[in-house]
Assembly symmetry: C2
Homo-oligomer: 230 residues x 2
């Protein structure tokens, strides 16, 4: 039996997708119980609540499970409809935020999908990656930040900020793991300053895992995958 208004988040501490759900709950000021899952040995609850992808995060609200991080963000914003809002009110701006969030997600996936091959992106993948990053730097700024201010300077961080931060907030980890300079203030001044400003917001800072520990687990995962491949 679930009690009234119970909010539980099943997660794994190093997952950028779980970080999204944590950030959204923190920013909205929603109390929740966090349940750490052992991904090698998932609980019955995760298997039962997310039978399709069997992945975290799973948000369980009053016993009802919601899976997939981007869908969880929309659910949180629609269910707790008091401000701060994660998405803007205007439908056109909402579309733009959704568009760029999906774009950043795709860009992030270029690198993260290489993990099952030992975390070694091919030359073509890197070319695609830089092309998408260059475009994000130029066009998100031009379309959404024409006055140079990150959106959350006027309000709390929202949907797009959360997705950006889940990707670039731990860029030092990515640099260390993949062995290349990922975002530098010289090459991506806009993305770098946006990410830095986000990292200083208390609700964001408190939820961010330790870089050193994330690097450790990434190396362990790479080793596991390489062993699995023989």
């Amino acid at each position: 039996m679930e009690e009234e208004s119970s909010v539980k988040l099943h997660g794994m501490w190093a997952s950028p997708y779980v970080l999204r759900a944590k950030l959204a709950l923190n920013i909205k000021g929603i109390d929740f119980e966090y349940i750490e899952e052992d991904l090698a040995n998932k609980s019955e609850l995760v298997l039962q609540h997310n039978p399709v992808h069997k992945k975290v995060p799973v948000l369980v609200h009053n016993g009802l499970p919601i899976a997939e991080s981007m869908i969880i963000l929309e659910y949180i914003d629609e269910t707790w409809s008091d401000p701060p809002h994660l998405l803007p009110k205007d439908p056109y701006l909402r579309a733009k935020h959704r568009f760029w969030a999906a774009y950043l997600q795709e860009t992030m996936m270029i690198l993260s999908k290489t993990m099952t091959n030992g975390g070694k992106p091919t030359e073509d993948e890197m070319k695609e990656y830089w092309k998408k990053m260059d475009m994000a730097e130029e066009l998100i700024k031009a379309e959404l930040f024409s006055n140079g201010c990150p959106s959350f300077q006027e309000a709390k961080p929202g949907y797009l900020d959360i997705v950006l931060y889940s990707f670039l907030g731990t860029y030092d980890v990515v640099e260390e793991f993949y062995g290349f300079k990922h975002i530098t203030a010289e090459r991506y001044p806009f993305l770098a300053s946006w990410t830095k400003a986000l990292s200083e917001v208390p609700q964001v800072k408190d939820a961010t895992p330790s870089s050193v520990k994330v690097i450790e687990i990434l190396h362990a995962m790479r080793k596991n995958y390489l062993q699995l491949k023989g």
Copy 2:
């Protein structure tokens, strides 16, 4: 200069993604101007309005461009907020519809991404494909259609119906092109009857392209890709 309340859809007649936008506009009863694009020679307008993906559909509403079919569906539902609604009102049901729409989109992509390799899915891809189809058959029915009725029997087709139909509405085309029995009433009675019921809704029927012509263009595309690969 755009006049007040001008709605233009830039598309390509055989695209399932363009079909989604057409269906949404038809179902909502929104008058729009349809502009067919030559994909080999895209208009300045598409390049200017969707500089990132340079793809159709692009919806241009009062001069403002919206790209990506799923985002266009949300935009249409939020902008023209009178019924019929494409997404349910309840946040939990909205999350479920979004989840299954994204799932069907992923399933569809397993086959469609093989097009650049000449439209020949590998054994592993086919295995993944059938697994996802089996799960869709079982779980969408269990989670959303427990009484056996497709959602649109109570209202007009919505977001999830549109995404389902863009994938399976032309399944005879897919069967002919890929050379395997795709959805049969024996194997997928629920998905097959849902798709059939949708195909009989006038707003859907009117927007569906001719199977014969779609097969022609798919074969032409396969030939082009194979030639490009040398």
